[in-house]
């Protein structure tokens, strides 16, 4: 049995009348890509936000490496090895690409109550940031402003920032959204390479990518997980076909 990294039990969250997370149980193991699929508004992003601590669940708990982290502040989650990327690109538009990633590296290399030395001369920050950019294939754009990047490139930057902290657990919210075929293929290759020694919770609408990458898939519909299984099991599942895959 491989090591269980993340475990979710009885998670519930509602907004007024909308039940966004309905008694969700879920686990993700080391070296695994666990994909979450589901129609728009199913509660995928809301689930990620609760796992990352941006939203507090109404009930239920989240365990990471056996520890209850349900109410752990976000900045401490990053310290224990969690990182997330956002469905809607969230970068520092007025910073250079390299500065964006360097800021992500800096978050995990000691405190930042250092007031004198220019951050841009710290070899370790810049080096690690550059490495993350090379990984996602964005190194050529290092000195461009983030606001000058194309949509696809911003998605790459988003991933580079998540990788820069060398996380054990990656929460990726639709990393391929809005990417071209080539960029998606590149990303699939990248994520495959990242699996080892880590775990990835992948929310994605691109079914080709999901079926190629995922070791297990959970299907979320109206906040509820209606099935979890290997890609083959999910493909065969009648309930899933009806609720979700059928419409494609």
């Amino acid at each position: 049995m491989t090591e269980m990294l993340l475990q979710v039990k009885g998670l519930k969250k509602s907004f007024g009348g909308v039940i966004a997370t309905d008694d969700v149980a879920l686990d993700v193991r080391l070296n695994e890509v666990h994909a979450i699929i589901g129609p728009n508004g199913a509660g995928k992003t809301t689930l990620i936000s609760q796992l990352f601590g941006e939203q507090l669940p109404d009930a239920g708990s989240v365990f990471f490496k056996g520890k209850d982290i349900t109410k752990l502040p976000i900045y401490k989650r990053a310290d224990i090895g969690l990182a997330r990327s956002f469905q809607v690109t969230s970068v520092f538009l007025d910073f250079s690409v390299l500065d964006n990633v360097a800021l992500a590296v800096q978050a995990h290399s000691g405190h930042s109550f250092k007031f004198w030395k220019p951050a841009s001369t710290e070899i370790q920050l810049r080096g690690d940031a550059m490495q993350a950019l090379v990984q996602v294939g964005l190194d050529e754009r290092a000195s461009s402003k983030a606001s000058e990047l194309s949509h696809g490139e911003r998605r790459q930057l988003e991933i580079a920032m998540a990788l820069a902290t060398d996380p054990v657990f990656l929460l990726l919210d639709e990393p391929m959204a809005g990417m071209g075929i080539e960029e998606s293929a590149f990303m699939v290759g990248l994520l495959k390479g990242l699996k080892k020694g880590r775990a990835i919770l992948l929310v994605e609408h691109d079914m080709n990518a999901v079926f190629e990458l995922a070791d297990r898939i959970s299907v979320l519909v109206y906040g509820r997980i209606i099935a979890t299984g290997t890609p083959d099991e999910i493909r065969e599942n009648a309930q899933v076909r009806e609720a979700y895959l059928g419409e494609a």
Partner: protein, 331 residues
């Protein structure tokens, strides 16, 4: 692509930002600082004491504007209560003096510590809010400080208090107008350099990151509140220094320096000049005081044209005068 090529490439991304590098903003800053140094000296040499004092006023208030720029321009914290720090700094000179303690080595550190403490307490609460609420709550705290000092009958109450002798530096006699100017100018230069170092340091990158996208900073793992509060305290301390200088310049201390209109004026200076630039607050302070000087000779409603000017600049020129020059330079 080889790893070696990457390693070689890294050097070009490892440059330290330079305060006196090229670029129009830097050139303008240097020109401005040189003018601010030369003109008053010429005036003084020709026997015109008024312009020396006037320049000292620009320099002292520029320190306050530079301190506000740190949090407003770089940190995106729109503090509408910065005048409180000026006032606290001033009373940190006036109150000990009243009791016979006249050493500048007491006054100046006390001004900075007292202002920093006020920033810590009020910032701890204010920074839990965002946007308009932050503006309102910083203003409310400043008004509280204003009414507090207004109520201190012992220290002049609403009549204010006269500073019978200026802070005693020992070897420096700042009663001499020229010495005072030179000291203030040196402190302004120091503050500009400090802010420059700070905004480019690790800490500064974090504070600017919070301005750009605080939610993302949190998800990267930063305790954004702690960093923003620290910036707020640094800014407060620096502004306290400006207050201690102002008290000595005017030989008079009054709670009126803490009213919300004074805070508004400081914001005007920073925004008009160009928030988040080195040049902006210095230029903004100079222009503001010149306008005040010229217009107030014609009308007591001199704030009005100035207010209109400010609204126009906020609406139509992004990044204040600094932004305007930057764009003109590029095209």
């Amino acid at each position: 692509m080889s790893a070696q090529k990457k390693a070689a490439n890294l050097d070009e991304y490892l440059k330290a930002p330079s305060l006196f590098g090229f670029g129009i903003g830097r050139i303008m800053t240097i020109v401005l600082m040189v003018l601010l140094f030369i003109l008053p000296l010429i005036a003084w040499y020709m026997g015109n004491k008024f312009y020396l004092d006037f320049s000292s006023r620009i320099v002292c208030l520029a320190i306050a504007a530079v301190s506000l720029n740190l949090i407003l321009g770089f940190g995106g914290m729109v503090s509408f209560g910065h005048a409180a720090f000026v006032g606290i700094g001033a009373y940190a000179v006036g109150i000990p003096s009243h009791h016979g303690y006249e050493s500048a080595w007491l006054h100046f550190p006390l001004a900075m510590i007292a202002a920093a403490f006020f920033a810590l307490v009020t910032g701890a609460i204010s920074l839990r809010t965002k946007g308009v609420y932050f503006i309102m709550i910083t203003m409310a705290f400043a008004q509280m400080a204003y009414y507090f000092f207004l109520s201190l009958e012992e220290y002049g109450g609403d009549d204010g208090m006269t500073l019978w002798s200026r802070s005693d530096f020992g070897f420096l006699n700042i009663t001499d107008k020229l010495t005072f100017f030179l000291l203030s100018y040196a402190l302004l230069a120091l503050c500009i350099y400090l802010v420059f170092r700070i905004v480019n340091s690790r800490f500064g990158m974090v504070v600017r990151g919070c301005n750009s996208n605080e939610a993302r900073m949190k998800s990267l793992g930063y305790n954004t509140y702690a960093y923003r509060l620290t910036a707020y305290v640094i800014s407060g301390a620096m502004c306290g220094l400006a207050g201690a200088l102002m008290a000595n310049l005017q030989d008079f201390i009054t709670a009126d320096t803490m009213t919300w209109t004074r805070s508004g004026e400081l914001m005007f200076m920073v925004i008009l000049g160009g928030a988040g630039s080195v040049f902006g607050p210095i230029f903004g302070t100079g222009v503001f005081l010149l306008f005040e000087e010229i217009l107030s000779a014609y009308t007591i409603y001199w704030h009005l044209p100035f207010g209109v000017l400010l609204i126009l600049s906020v609406l139509f020129i992004k990044g204040g005068v600094n932004g305007l020059i930057q764009r003109a330079w590029k095209t």
